[in-house]
């Protein structure tokens, strides 16, 4: 645990001279909230959520918390992880110290989770100030956001071990872009035809968005337990796969 934290220390140190790179992503959810939520909100009548009519910004905002957690984790575990794994050989150097491969993977996952978490929490606080949260369950949103970040970090780190060159990231984001636009961040599941709903429900971001929106609106249900279980499974599977693949790349 302590050993993994050393990797987080290394990352904090590396951003010390360029905090703007780290902090600029903080604005992203705000830009989408104003760009689409408020802009389109003028064209959209109230949206229905669990029988309540809520304003469009109030509907979109919790979804954007999940997106922020996902994006923060993805950015870290795509380009940065790839660079350290393949180009600068940072991990080869770390593996010459008492740290183990497991420490390296867990350390990087924790860092990515914290980065995503940071963005979500800043946005969450702003939403509270804007009065876009409707329930005290919202205090649990940071934990949900960290779980979403960790889940995406785990899967993304595994995927990144297969990347052969920078160009492959086109394909990587080919997979994540649909998640962003189609995972009920911007409109409810009911918009989809009956047959398409299970497909949407099988994708990871849906569970993050659904869970955080339920917390924000105080509409928790049994499905929320399912959301949490899905995200936990994502962490467990992704972390195991990523550790195995990294071992194949770094310790042969």
């Amino acid at each position: 645990m302590m050993a993994s934290w050393l990797l987080v220390e290394r990352n904090l140190l590396s951003y010390r001279r360029t905090p703007a790179v780290l902090l600029s992503a903080m604005f992203e959810p705000f830009i989408f909230l104003f760009g689409l939520g408020v802009g389109l909100g003028k064209l959209i009548e109230d949206v229905e959520w669990h029988g309540d009519a809520i304003s469009y910004p109030a509907f979109v905002a919790p979804g954007l918390i999940a997106v922020a957690a996902m994006n923060g984790a993805l950015f870290e575990m795509s380009f940065n992880f790839y660079f350290k794994l393949r180009e600068s050989k940072t991990y080869d150097a770390v593996l010459a110290t008492p740290l183990s491969l497991r420490n390296v993977v867990d350390g990087e996952l924790s860092w990515a989770m914290l980065r995503g978490g940071l963005y979500s929490i800043v946005f969450l606080v702003a939403l509270a100030l804007f009065g876009l949260l409707a329930s005290w369950w919202s205090v649990l949103i940071p934990f949900a956001a960290l779980l979403v970040g960790l889940g995406f970090a785990s899967l993304a780190s595994w995927a990144t071990t297969f990347v052969r060159g920078w160009q492959d990231f086109d394909l990587f984001f080919l997979a994540t872009q649909p998640l962003f636009v189609l995972s009920t961040t911007f409109f409810a599941l009911e918009v989809y035809p009956e047959w398409a709903r299970p497909i949407v429900q099988a994708t990871p971001l849906y569970h993050g968005v659904d869970l955080i929106r339920d917390l924000a609106r105080g509409t928790l249900a049994w499905s929320s337990v399912g959301n949490v279980a899905y995200l936990c499974a994502m962490v467990a599977v992704g972390r195991a796969l990523a550790t195995r693949r990294s071992a194949q790349l770094l310790t042969t």
Partner: protein, 303 residues
């Protein structure tokens, strides 16, 4: 005290390919030990096994008396590794590179800071302490990599081709630093494909070729055992067809010249001149490890 490194029938295979084929080697404490061989001879694979990041396929290996398969962490905490491509962290400054590495070895921030300052002085990098790694020259980067590998006061330091790609001046500065380490009693294990480096730095060396060890000993004993004291290098015009068999010496035909192994180079040259076989150019030099390698494998170290 246990040997620094002890290997018996050590083998590494990658699928069908055998990188290291059942080698035996022993490195004593305080010794400076080199593995000399061309690219692809199995030196780096052996180094990776010693550094505990690459599991052996078969055979026994013990490093500082411990088993890399089970005690990797304990071994690494007493070892320093300088990789071929430096592996420096280019998101950090020179000083931070050493500090964060010190943290990985369990130093407190305060201890890591003072250790970093001490090592920057050793590596003659004090004035670059706040610089980004990318702004350093090749020689400086290598010195930083060495300084970083010393952050835990290691008993054993592994150096994979420490001076490949460096200019002569940078090489000599590096050799000087490594010699200082040796004087302090640190065990050094290095790989190289430069015979002069092996001669300069090692007490003892093994010559590797095609995954095996083909010779072992001190630089001078290897030369004495496998080649003559001196080498006469001669060139004839391309169309000349000169027979050297009557000299009774071992000769080696290379693409552009002929080597004659002799204990007295000038005398052998005189014999050639007196018998009307004056070469178009000639050179008498001391025999080197390069000649040992050529004698053993029929090929040259650096192609």
């Amino acid at each position: 005290m246990a040997m620094a490194v002890e290997a018996r029938s050590l083998t590494k295979r990658f699928g069908e390919f055998t990188a290291v084929d059942g080698i035996d080697l022993t490195v004593e404490r305080g010794e400076s030990f080199a593995m000399l061989g061309p690219n692809g001879a199995g030196k780096s694979s052996t180094m990776r096994m010693i550094s505990t990041v690459s599991p052996a396929t078969s055979g026994q290996l013990s490093v500082l008396g411990l088993d890399p398969a089970t005690d990797g962490q304990a071994i690494r905490s007493r070892m320093g590794v300088v990789a071929q491509d430096d592996n420096l962290d280019d998101a950090l400054t020179v000083r931070e590179n050493i500090m964060i590495y010190g943290r990985y070895f369990g130093l407190s921030w305060a201890a890591a800071r003072s250790k970093a300052d001490e090592l920057l002085q050793f590596a003659q990098l004090e004035d670059r302490s706040g610089a980004q790694v990318n702004s350093l020259s090749g020689g400086m980067k290598r010195r930083l990599a060495i300084a970083r590998a010393l952050v835990n006061d290691p008993d054993l330091v592994l150096l994979d081709e420490p001076t490949t790609g460096l200019d002569p001046q940078a090489r000599h500065l590096l050799w000087e630093r490594l010699y200082q380490l040796k004087e302090r009693g640190v065990t050094l294990v290095l790989t190289t494909h430069y015979m002069d480096e092996a001669e300069q730095l090692s007490d003892r060396l093994v010559v590797m070729d095609q995954a095996r060890i083909v010779a072992e000993g001190s630089p001078s004993s290897l030369i004495a055992e496998h080649v003559s004291k001196e080498v006469l290098e001669i060139r004839y015009p391309a169309e000349a067809n000169v027979d050297l068999a009557d000299l009774g010496l071992r000769t080696e035909e290379l693409a552009d010249r002929t080597l004659i192994y002799t204990d007295r180079g000038e005398d052998t040259l005189a014999v050639l001149v007196n018998s009307g076989r004056t070469p178009s150019s000639s050179l008498v030099r001391r025999a080197s490890l390069e000649d040992v390698f050529l004698a053993l494998t029929g090929r040259r170290l650096v192609e």
